[in-house]
Symmetry: C2
Subunit: 355 residues, 2 copies
């Protein structure tokens, strides 16, 4: 076989060209098979026409650099977290999603009109195609602009408030009031609020009300009083907390061939204790584009054998949220990364057309 011109030493970086090649092959092989890769296998895989012994020497170097390790004395080598990191950063060849996948995803996502359903479907689809667990964090509206508000009296001094924010999202809250209000009273209050504050940020609404109160204090008529009272209770501490959609847990069970059930349980538990996962996703929302957290990098011990691939999504220039997948560190990054990217873009587009 044509030996490559391998004698050119790579200048300062510790890794020779040959080392890189073999390392790349090793990672790819391990991702494909899931079993430690030995020198003989690697010798066959590479077209370098080198004996296993030579490969062994290179592998020893790679091990010294902390890129690979052997699970035990006489097993092959597997990539370490830093190894995966190097791989995805400098040598991964992304495999574009197949036309089928794109088609399938498009059909499913584009047709959704309800925000909740859209997110759920997106998560589902991503999970099915990647065969991993998928997370979609719902858009966190940094500013909510009020479009319309309605009040409906319920029994027992309670009022149902319906807010339409950001042009299309509907929120509703039950508020407890000191006395009971009549329907017409509430209607007037809502009318006033709609006229005075429609199109304004919710935060501003609260401020505006306070100002209003100061100005008109004495000569406030009854309607105004009602309006202010209602609005105060309605707009206080809105944010119900970030939510996210998780689908495809079960895919993790299928993959984890070691089926370390206790570990798996802990990961699932983490999904439920949503707060933990949220923090991870928060890290991701800062930078736009695809981000990869390998093993311990995520900062969560339970995820030490798992990697997380995330991408922000949004419309235009704004990041609305984060989505991604969780799977074993040896997931097929070259396939998963473009898929996550694609999904994020599609969701962004779908959201845009929804507005």
């Amino acid at each position: 076989m044509t030996a490559l011109p391998i004698h050119r030493k790579s200048p300062s970086v510790a890794l020779s060209e040959r080392g890189q090649l073999l390392f790349k092959l090793l990672v790819e092989r391990y991702i494909a098979d899931g079993e430690p890769v030995g020198s003989r296998t690697l010798a066959r895989d590479s077209r370098l026409d080198l004996s296993p012994a030579t490969i062994r020497n290179v592998m020893a170097d790679l091990e010294d650099l902390g890129l690979i390790r052997s699970p035990h004395t006489s097993a092959g080598r597997v990539p370490t977290a830093p190894g995966y990191r190097l791989f995805v950063d400098t040598m991964m060849a992304v495999r574009e999603p197949t036309a089928t996948d794109i088609e399938r995803m498009n059909a499913d996502i584009a047709s959704q009109t309800d925000l909740g359903v859209l997110l759920a479907r997106t998560s589902n689809m991503l999970s099915e195609i990647t065969k991993l667990a998928s997370i979609v964090m719902v858009p966190r509206p940094d500013h909510q602009s009020l479009r319309q508000v309605e009040f409906l009296p319920l029994s027992d001094n309670r009022v149902l408030a319906i807010l339409v924010v950001n042009e299309r999202e509907v929120q509703n809250r039950i508020i407890h009031t000191a006395r009971s209000y009549g329907a017409s009273e509430l209607e007037q209050a809502a009318n006033y609020l709609n006229q005075a504050f429609a199109g304004r940020e919710i935060d501003q609404v609260r401020e505006g009300l306070v100002r209003e109160m100061a100005n008109t204090r004495a000569e406030m008529d009854r309607m105004m009083q009602t309006a202010i009272e209602m609005a105060e209770k309605t707009f206080v501490s809105s944010r119900a907390g970030d939510e996210f959609v998780v689908t495809g847990h079960t895919n993790l069970m299928a993959i984890d061939e070691l089926s370390n059930i206790e570990k798996l349980r802990q990961v699932f538990e983490a999904f439920n204790q949503k707060r933990d996962i949220l923090h991870l996703l928060d890290q991701a929302i800062g930078a736009s584009g695809v981000q990869i957290f390998i093993g311990e990098e995520s900062g969560y011990e339970v995820l030490s054998d798992y990697s997380v691939v995330t991408s922000t999504y949004g419309t235009g220039g704004r990041n609305l949220g984060v989505l991604g997948v969780i799977g074993p560190t040896r997931m097929a990054y070259s396939r998963v990364v473009p898929l996550v990217d694609l999904t994020a873009r599609m969701l962004g587009a779908a959201l845009k057309s929804l507005t």
Copy 2:
């Protein structure tokens, strides 16, 4: 020891009094330990002062009756599905929930105001206390009475419809229209609908509209046209499909000591393919009160090693939905059954105070 008066034959039923006693002990023991119960153990447990050999004879009878079986030649006996059935039907002594459990549940459930949160919390709580997976099916409103409707124009010939039904529930839908409508136009249409149909069943609204159309066909003014057009699209095929909340998957993983991971995966998968589970819950909603499905009784093969304990819940006389738990057939029925019952009643009460 004081031998019980066991010589009285039970009349026609195939099971002697002694057989019943020993069977009950066996089931309780197996539920507690999870391991096949042998004749020696049972001899010690019972205060009957009988030798293991005698117990063996009884056990052989019980096996002939199909109430118990041995996993293999020289293992003890475990209850069969019919065995559990007999146990829960005729000999189970319910253990009332502890004051702590009641207190805890009450605190958590009673304080909720949002329907979605209430259901989620209920499910969570039930799952935590029973240490099983819990399902709460959301109330299926067999009749939805319309309280109020609002329309908001969006871009691209789409209109956001907001429905308030059943006094407090808010639904919103995006509908696509042939042409674009102005805000005032839509407002008039909503006003008309609200006046004409508030308080009526949604089904009736549709019917009423059709009648209206027939009557006024020719002299329909523009406002009416708009109203009818909007309403048609809004009220068609409303039912977004029954939803339910599942929590505590992870508890199943902890219990299934055999950790037959593939089986577990199938069960989880079934949770995701919600339709399957729904059908099971549908069976339960017919009869009110607690129902127990043991193993294959549920009609789902994947659930063959699991039992489902459900109860309907509702306010006043009406059944609104079903909740329950899923766990191994050897769950502690005597504890779980009253807990499911209690939860159902508490949820019913919470819903009542919410309306």
